[in-house]
């Protein structure tokens, strides 16, 4: 794992359908400046900048790090652009953390964004490649069959997905940055919403959002200095890993992917986690379609295979449950695609820093428990995760 690394600053824009008031550069700079302010730093203190986003076709700007170098204060510094599909926000955080863990840099700014209003994601995900047939289904059409397979395998009741949709939207009401605010949401409203990709209803899918998130990652020395100066504690990285597996391979289980299990196992080994449900105080997990909560509960080892839905049904993952999942409202409430993974990582950090505001999980701040940040992408084949804690590892 290399040298110690900690999150010392977090910044987010408010997530909206359309941020017409800012350019792309203005939007990422807004998140970056907030993260720097949180860390008590300026651009001059940053050694290196790493940006991440989902496919360039989402905005029609290719290799956008070139255009964003000025706005992110990267001039004269190393700048990287990560792209690992939907997991990219998480991967971007890990690429930045790696530079600190390598002993190369003291303070790295990581930024992830998407301005979905500039384009149409379903179109951009469905373009016809010269070499293979296009499914023209977007993400929902791609993942719905996996969800149906999960329901068939586990025997989960049909209302589990709707329960997740309600739970995450209620959580979002406590998050000032969240995109969707539906105060009167209930199971009936979700059930009445239009079926998009059976069994995914309109209110069981994520929105299309504009937004950006940024973090300042720091070495042990820089983290201690920042914590002392700002009075806001760092979130220490206890474990971090990426895993990928092929999309097309006979025998691959795309409902319960091995890459996800292996990635979690690697993070848990580094962090000393043997009982995730007990040792994590909160989890921010990439759930873009409601049913992915029970699916990932099993994949990440919070529940036995086939029984993840029972945790959801029993309320264990609710804000007042024993293991709150997505107290921020999650991807179901805010989805600037390329940023969505890093938002999970950042929200996990805010929980153990005690900086999550109204959606702060009380059990996360005593220092004995960790928080999990998770992202996935591609055909459920790319995974990035970290475990963070208030105590130094």
């Amino acid at each position: 794992m290399g040298n110690r690394c900690a999150v010392i600053g977090v910044g987010q824009t408010k997530y909206r359908t359309k941020r017409a008031d800012v350019s792309l550069a203005g939007m990422v700079r807004e998140a970056a400046l907030e993260a720097l302010a949180d860390a008590g730093l300026t651009f001059a203190d940053i050694d290196s900048v790493v940006v991440g986003k989902a496919p360039d076709m989402f905005e029609g700007v290719a290799t956008p790090e070139l255009y964003l170098a000025d706005a992110l204060g990267a001039v004269g510094k190393p700048m990287m652009r990560v792209h690992t599909a939907g997991s990219v926000g998480g991967s971007t955080a890990l690429v930045g953390a790696s530079q600190v863990q390598a002993g190369l840099h003291e303070r790295v700014l990581v930024v992830a964004f998407e301005k979905q209003s500039e384009s149409n994601a379903t179109w951009a995900l469905s373009t016809h490649s010269p070499f293979s047939a296009s499914l023209v289904v977007g993400a929902g059409g791609y993942f719905a069959p996996y969800i149906r397979a999960y329901i068939r395998r586990s025997g989960a009741p049909a209302n589990i997905g709707m329960m997740v949709a309600v739970k995450d939207r209620i959580n979002a009401l406590r998050n000032p940055y969240a995109h969707l605010k539906i105060p009167n949401i209930d199971l009936a409203m979700v059930e009445e919403s239009m079926m998009l990709w059976d069994p995914i209803r309109y209110l069981e899918t994520c929105p299309s959002s504009d937004g950006a998130v940024a973090m300042v990652l720091a070495s042990e020395q820089a983290a201690e200095a920042a914590g002392a100066a700002t009075g806001r504690p760092p979130a220490w990285v206890h474990g971090a890993a990426m895993r990928s597996e092929p999309m097309g391979m006979a025998g691959r289980d795309s409902v319960d992917p091995r890459a996800g299990r292996d990635c979690a196992a690697d993070v848990y080994r580094q962090a000393g986690v043997t009982e995730p449900r007990r040792q994590f105080a909160a989890a921010e997990v990439y759930v873009p379609f409601s049913w992915y909560e029970p699916m990932w509960l099993e994949n990440l080892g919070f529940a036995e295979k086939g029984s993840g839905w029972k945790l959801t049904e029993a309320g264990a993952t609710a804000f007042d449950g024993d293991i709150p999942w997505n107290p921020s409202g999650g991807v179901l409430s805010s989805n600037p695609i390329g940023a969505s993974g890093m938002i999970r990582f950042a929200e996990a950090a805010q929980q153990v820093r005690g900086q999550a505001g109204e959606h702060q999980v009380a059990a996360a701040v005593d220092g004995s428990r960790l928080a999990l940040g998770h992202a996935y992408g591609g055909g459920s084949q790319f995974f990035a995760m970290w475990a963070v804690g208030a105590r130094k590892p």
Binding site: A69, G76, K77, P78, M79, V95, G379
Partner: protein, 321 residues
């Protein structure tokens, strides 16, 4: 820093026309080649990183299909940059500094022949003020050539681009004793750094490349001892500019491979520079070589890699003696 070396390099037979090969077709034989040359098994690779650009073939996630070919099973620790493969190599080199993995696989690939390069390069520019004008990489290079000409340098102010190319490259990095085991003459990375400049060309002095100078200083390029240099010169005028910023004298042979002017598979071109420079160490023709990769209009972003037959710690102990 930990001693890490390029221990194997392979590149495709680059083509100026679309031979109907997918990106996966381009990458797979190269991955097999670098594994075969080193005698390494896939299970010995601790990290994999690639570089590519979705816009070249106009499809999202071009790296996903390439991943299908490299044998990512059981699942692998893997990442991707939407940058030239040289930056993928940088990410892998950084990851290897953690000390827990001893080998990494890096590849980059691009099919430049199937798209409109002027249109695609323009999409990399400021989307509000510059991209709509579709200036393209050739006109941008022309601005730099003209600036150099006006400053009194002997360059052609009307640059011609290299032909659009399809191709790929793969490299294996290995650390310490693993490098010595799998390669008789490892090309040790004694320095690696990259720096970016402002995007707006109007805010830059186009007769200089401060980011190259900065990266070269940090990577430890020292004049007088560089046998070979492989520079990411897509346009002729860039060579004199880069030579000056890198501090290379007349004894340094530049682009013995033919350079990007002879083969420019975008997103692999920079990685090939590192591979070609390493190959000069591998074959014994060089003791020290410099590789350079560039990105963006008028050399906005520059990476410099110093490779040597001796490790940095070997050189340091020699100095002590």
């Amino acid at each position: 820093m930990r001693d890490v070396a390029v221990v194997a390099f392979a590149q495709s037979e680059h083509s100026f026309s679309d031979l109907g090969w997918t990106e996966a077709d381009l990458v797979m034989p190269l991955v097999n080649e670098v594994l075969s040359v080193t005698g390494m098994d896939r299970s010995e690779i601790g990290f994999t990183c690639s570089g590519s650009n979705d816009y070249l073939v106009g499809t999202p996630f071009s790296f996903v299909a390439a991943l299908d070919t490299i044998g990512a099973w059981p699942p692998i620790a893997e990442s991707h940059v939407e940058q030239d493969g040289a930056w993928a190599l940088y990410e892998a080199w950084v990851r290897m500094q953690h000390g827990d993995i001893d080998a990494a696989l890096v590849y980059g690939f691009g099919k430049g022949t199937v798209g409109d390069q002027v249109g695609i390069s323009s999409l990399s520019y400021d989307p509000y003020y510059l991209a709509p004008l579709v200036p393209g990489h050739i006109a941008m290079a022309g601005l730099q050539a003209r600036a150099l000409k006006d400053a009194g340098f002997d360059v052609d102010p009307d640059p011609t681009p290299p032909p659009a190319t399809d191709g790929a490259a793969a490299v294996i990095l290995a650390a310490g004793d693993v490098a010595r085991r799998v390669c008789s003459r490892p090309a040790w990375i004694t320095g690696l750094d990259h720096r970016i400049e402002p995007h707006a060309v109007g805010s830059r002095d186009l007769t200089r490349s401060p980011s190259t100078r900065q990266a070269a200083a940090r990577a430890g390029v020292r004049p007088g001892v560089v046998d070979f240099a492989e520079l990411h010169t897509r346009f002729e005028h860039e060579e004199m500019l880069l030579r000056r910023e890198l501090g290379l004298d007349e004894k340094t042979v530049v682009n013995a491979s033919g350079g990007p002017r002879k083969a420019d598979p975008i997103m692999a071109t920079g990685l090939i520079r590192i591979g070609e420079a390493a190959a000069r160490i591998h074959d014994g023709s060089a003791q020290r070589a410099v590789a350079h990769a560039a990105s963006g209009p008028c050399l906005q972003h520059n990476l410099v890699c110093v490779l040597a037959a001796d490790t940095a710690s070997d050189l340091a102990s020699e100095g002590e003696r």
